[in-house]
């Protein structure tokens, strides 16, 4: 409880300040805006409740894109890291490509992927996977390469095969790195899903945010952003919990 108190107090204070600033009209006046364009936390909460069915429906669409995309990235990132770790030639050949792939902004390729793969879930899944892949692959590879060379020598004199060195030393060493990569991926996955929906979709929180923005439904837009943030936080928290179970020696 003591650990949770400071962040809870800070969030409460920020919401309180926001509430005061909006209900007195201070922000709207300062920006010379109509007051309905700057919703207060109370109005957002009200919108969250009134639109709960709509929000839940769209959140489910986005959550599915996030989870499936994240799952694909986890499998691909893990596989890629292990392959690059086991083959020096492959690592030297593919590593620069891996880094270069990250310099292409996802916003740019999202519309192209929609053109190629249509308006279904495929391009969304791909975009989320693309954005999650890099932190998982690079962190896992770093973890696999961070093994103490003396530990490998020791294992070799204890008759370990290549597979046993991997299973008993390299893989457990890399696990915490994999989790930290996965946590970064979980935090950026919703961004990928929103971009993907902006590039072309008929449902999902990203689609809803775009629609609300056009219709000046600012309270509902903030409510959708709130749900999106809650999804990212929940995913992050679940991963932290899983890490504590899977990596108890840390």
């Amino acid at each position: 409880m003591r650990r949770w108190l400071p962040p809870l107090l800070l969030v409460a204070a920020l919401i309180g300040a926001w509430q005061v600033a909006t209900s007195t009209g201070a922000i709207a006046d300062a920006l010379d805006l109509e007051s309905f364009l700057v919703p207060s936390p109370a109005e957002i909460a009200e919108s969250l409740w009134q639109n709960r069915a709509l929000l839940a429906e769209n959140a489910w669409v986005t959550l599915r894109e996030i989870l499936l995309g994240f799952g694909c990235a986890l499998l691909a990132g893990l596989g890629c890291a292990v392959l690059l770790h086991l083959s020096t030639v492959l690592r030297h050949a593919a590593y620069p490509l891996l880094v270069a792939s990250q310099t292409i902004p996802i916003v740019v390729i999202a519309p192209i992927l929609v053109v190629w793969f249509g308006y279904g879930i495929a391009p969304k899944l791909l975009i989320v996977a693309l954005i999650c892949f890099f932190p998982i692959a690079v962190n896992t590879l770093d973890g696999l390469r961070s093994v103490d060379p003396d530990a490998i020598k020791m294992m070799r004199t204890l008759d370990a095969s290549r597979w046993q060195v991997f299973r008993r030393v390299e893989a457990p060493t890399a696990l915490p790195f994999l989790f930290s990569g996965a946590r970064i991926a979980a935090a950026v996955a919703p961004i990928g899903a929103v971009f993907a929906e902006w590039a072309g979709s008929s449902s999902g929180l990203g689609h809803l945010i775009l629609q609300d923005n056009a219709q000046l439904e600012t309270a509902r837009m903030f409510a959708a952003v709130f749900v999106l943030a809650a999804i990212a936080l929940a995913l992050f928290g679940l991963l932290a919990l899983a890490e504590r179970r899977v990596v108890p020696w840390r």
């Binding site: 020791m154 004199t157 008993r168």
Partner: protein, 253 residues
């Protein structure tokens, strides 16, 4: 009877331009214990890695039990590195039982094999402890049991007690002497501590600064006394230690 002879002839090894060791000759009978001392960077650890078949030498030959290929040496030697390198994801007993597990034994069988030694070497009750829960001395003991359980005739020990405090180190030296008494093997012990090398070995070789070569060889007092404090304060031991220190001073740059 476990233990194999070691025969090293005109051994040299370089890392690129850097000559680590040069012209080392050494003969060790089965169950012999030799201590290697020398200034830091004289190639002691390289010599152990060459012995264990973890590296191929640039020149010269090493044979362990008549086997001179690197895989053959690897099958006959086990290596205890300077740091205990216990794997934090395994319990103490699973760390000790790594070699039987690698050889294909089931978890229960491997643990049973290690449990016997835990009892014998004062680690009973700590089987399921995580390495982080053990003291420095206990960690080294588990690391040594892990080396013993490899079942290899030759043990290569690389400054096994360097990370321990003085009192624990003295205790561990007496403990190791007893352990080798109970389960004799051929041992090559690298140490920066002349007293430790003389107390634990039959013979101590002094290596020169890089490139390392043997510049002096001393025969340690035999038989080894189980009372370490009495042994190391014996006048003959003290004189021998002084002789070794002198050789070491001359060998240092």
């Amino acid at each position: 009877m476990p233990g194999e002879s070691i025969s090293i002839r005109d051994l040299a090894h370089s890392f690129g331009e850097l000559r680590a060791i040069a012209g080392i000759d050494l003969e060790l009978p089965p169950q012999g214990v030799i201590g290697l001392v020398g200034p830091s960077g004289c190639g002691k650890s390289t010599l152990l890695e060459l012995l264990c078949g973890l590296r191929e030498p640039s020149a010269g030959a090493i044979a362990v039990g008549g086997e001179s290929s690197a895989p053959g040496r690897l099958r006959r030697c086990s290596y205890m590195p300077q740091r205990d390198l216990l794997l934090p994801w395994y319990s103490a007993i699973d760390n000790a039982a790594l070699a039987p597990r690698n050889r294909g034994a089931g978890r229960a069988a491997a643990r049973a094999e290690a449990a016997e030694l835990f009892e014998r070497f004062g680690l009973a009750g700590f089987e399921t402890a995580r390495p982080s829960e053990l003291s420095g001395g206990m960690r080294q003991r588990v690391a040594f049991l892990r080396t013993l359980l490899s079942g290899k005739p030759v043990l290569a020990l690389d400054e096994p007690f360097a990370s321990l405090d003085a009192i624990t180190r003295a205790e561990m030296q007496a403990w190791l002497a007893q352990a080798l008494e109970a389960d004799p093997r051929t041992v090559v012990l690298v140490s920066h501590d002349v007293e430790e090398a003389l107390y634990l070995s039959d013979r101590v070789a002094v290596l020169s600064a890089r490139p390392g070569r043997i510049v002096a060889e001393l025969r340690a007092p035999a038989p080894r006394s189980p009372d370490r404090d009495a042994a190391v304060t014996h006048p003959a031991f003290v004189a021998l230690r002084e002789q070794a220190m002198q050789a070491l001073r001359e060998a240092s740059p």
